[in-house]
């Protein structure tokens, strides 16, 4: 993938989205665009609006203003189901696995959600997830509630992938992971990129964002304050230094 994709139609386009919860504005005219095959970071501190942005893309907030388009289709007022069918996968920060179900059934749930495959089709998707995270094979039959935190994170990302998405939203995928597990995870993200799947990653850690993203947005108090271009470094960005280091 080259860097000159600006003229293509974005795969995901969030345009001037404003969201209020209980009369408080939590997102103010947020705009971002993700091109096919691209990895985009949404960088901000906790509470800056990253998760709300993702929830809005998934159709779980009431959007007061603005538009959300996937592959050119306006899905702003459509239910979550249609967003999945248009190829979005979501791995929430707090994992939200179904603890009484096995890992395999957790993965199956998103294939059922998209509703486009039979058992054989699911098996093929499962194989692909196991190529990304081979260690998952060992605990496929265990209830998700019995896994370690790192294993649960892995299943959360796997579940976002078994709907066969074109784009996945990963909310803080590296948070709370031991350094060795984090490295495994970073390799997993690289393998997802190799499949040509676009990624939006919400990160409060600038260094982690810089390691994987082609392009970034900085969000602060519900507003996008900086759009870091494809040719600019993420880690050494002046605006980021101002926000994160008070410099």
């Amino acid at each position: 993938m080259g860097g000159q994709q600006q003229h293509q139609q974005p795969l995901l386009e969030v345009e001037d989205v404003t969201v209020s919860i209980d009369r408080a504005t939590v997102l103010e005219e947020v705009s971002l665009a993700v091109q096919p095959g691209e990895t985009v970071a949404l960088i901000g501190r906790n509470g800056a609006g990253k998760t709300t942005t993702f929830r809005s893309v998934m159709g779980q907030t009431s959007i007061r203003n603005g538009t959300i388009r996937v592959d050119g289709t306006d899905l702003t007022d459509r239910p979550s189901r249609e967003r999945i069918q248009h190829g979005i996968g979501f791995a929430p920060e707090d994992r939200r696995l179904f603890t009484t179900l096995t890992v395999e059934d957790n993965l199956r749930m998103s294939a059922w959600g998209k509703g486009d495959v039979d058992d054989d089709g699911f098996e093929a998707r499962l194989e692909r997830v196991l190529d990304i995270y081979p260690e998952m094979e060992e605990f496929l039959d265990r209830p998700a509630g019995q896994l370690s935190g790192g294993q649960q994170k892995m299943v959360t990302v796997g579940r976002a992938l078994t709907s066969d998405p074109d784009i996945v939203l990963l909310d803080e995928p590296f948070e709370g992971l031991a350094p060795s597990v984090r490295e495994q995870f970073r390799e997993g993200v690289e393998r997802i990129k190799d499949l040509g799947i676009s990624i939006v990653v919400a990160e409060s850690n600038v260094r982690h964002a810089g390691e994987i993203a082609d392009h970034g947005y900085v969000i602060e108090r519900g507003e996008i304050v900086t759009d870091i271009g494809r040719d600019e470094p993420i880690v050494d960005n002046d605006e980021i230094k101002r926000i994160f280091e008070g410099g």
């Binding site: 998934m58 159709g59 779980q60 239910p79 979550s80 189901r81 967003r83 999945i84 069918q85 979501f90 929430p92 939200r96 179904f98 603890t99 009484t100 179900l101 059934d105 199956r108 749930m109 998103s110 059922w112 959600g113 998209k114 509703g115 579940r159 709907s163």
Partner: protein, 302 residues
């Protein structure tokens, strides 16, 4: 206590437990999976009883075959109520899922009053009973069980309740509908965000739950009379079952139905005046010492 009366009371306790299970299992499922506290749930038990009396009494001219009569009670009536409740879910109950429990209680209490009036309008306020010729409980007579003589029909009802409990358990752990239901009881919004059509699952779970209540009413009525009071009695008893067992747990319903069934059966035999007082006294004790119920902190099929 002589051994025979111990066995007879145990058998009767099992029969009460079976009826209580039918009346209340759906209440706990609808709350556990769909977050709706449907006070009107057991009113469908009453409706099932009336529909069963009416249907059986109109079948006398066609057939008096026990197998056919049982099939009507076990299959046809629940199926009719299943379809009816799918329609009710889309119309009457759909808006209630979004509101707070206290309003759910009020609104579904209104549904009880309406169902009660519908029943009185169609069948009148006087008790109605199944005619002898089409009463499968008379046709089946008694059977000898470990030296005591028991109703063959009641034995069948107990077996159907066991089959129903096992069937529900298998549905939850083996089928797609059951697994999605388990997931919904844990995190409804996440299931929605994965693209699952939660409304379709909701209608299925609601209709299955209501159909089981109607099945209970249908099975109850060959031995008893259908009266408007049946509805209220089972509304109260089914709340006792889910409070003791813990809201949302299949295991809780089974255990609480057995406990209340036995307490009732032995209560009637030894302290008939205190029968209901013992049941609700037990409920009060559970509320004081374990407010979430015996299994209230567990999942649907944990």
């Amino acid at each position: 206590m002589p051994i025979e009366s111990l066995m007879v009371n145990t058998f009767n306790g099992l029969y009460f437990a079976a009826l209580l299970f039918f009346a209340s299992v759906g209440l706990t499922l609808v709350f556990g999976i769909l977050n709706l506290l449907n006070m009107a749930h057991a009113a469908f038990y009453g409706l099932g009883a009336y529909v069963a009396v009416w249907t059986l009494n109109n079948m006398g001219d066609i057939t008096t075959s026990t197998v056919v009569l049982l099939a009507v009670l076990v299959l046809v009536i629940p199926l009719v109520v299943f379809v009816l409740s799918a329609v009710l879910d889309k119309t009457v109950f759909a808006p209630l899922y979004e509101i707070e429990p206290v309003y759910q209680l009020l609104a579904t209490f209104g549904v009880i009053l309406m169902l009660d009036d519908v029943i009185k309008f169609i069948w009148g306020a006087s008790p109605i009973t199944v005619d002898g010729a089409v009463d499968p409980s008379r046709q089946l007579g008694t059977l000898d069980l470990l030296g005591i003589s028991v109703s063959a029909y009641r034995s069948v009802v107990i077996l159907i309740a066991i089959a129903c409990a096992v069937g529900l358990y298998l549905m939850f752990v083996k089928t797609k509908l059951g697994k999605i239901s388990q997931a919904m009881s844990e995190d409804y919004e996440m299931v929605q965000m994965l693209g699952i059509n939660v409304n379709r699952v909701r209608i299925m779970i609601f209709s299955i739950s209501v159909a089981i209540a109607a099945l209970g009413g249908a099975l109850f009525v060959p031995f008893a009379t259908a009266t408007p009071a049946v509805t209220l009695e089972y509304v109260l008893l089914s709340f006792a079952v889910i409070v003791i067992g813990g809201l949302g747990s299949l295991k809780g319903v089974v255990v609480a139905a057995l406990v209340i069934g036995m307490v009732r059966s032995f209560g009637i035999a030894y302290y008939p005046a205190l029968e209901l007082a013992i049941v609700f006294g037990l409920m009060a004790v559970v509320i004081i010492f374990k407010p979430e119920g015996l299994f209230g902190d567990e999942g649907v099929v944990e």
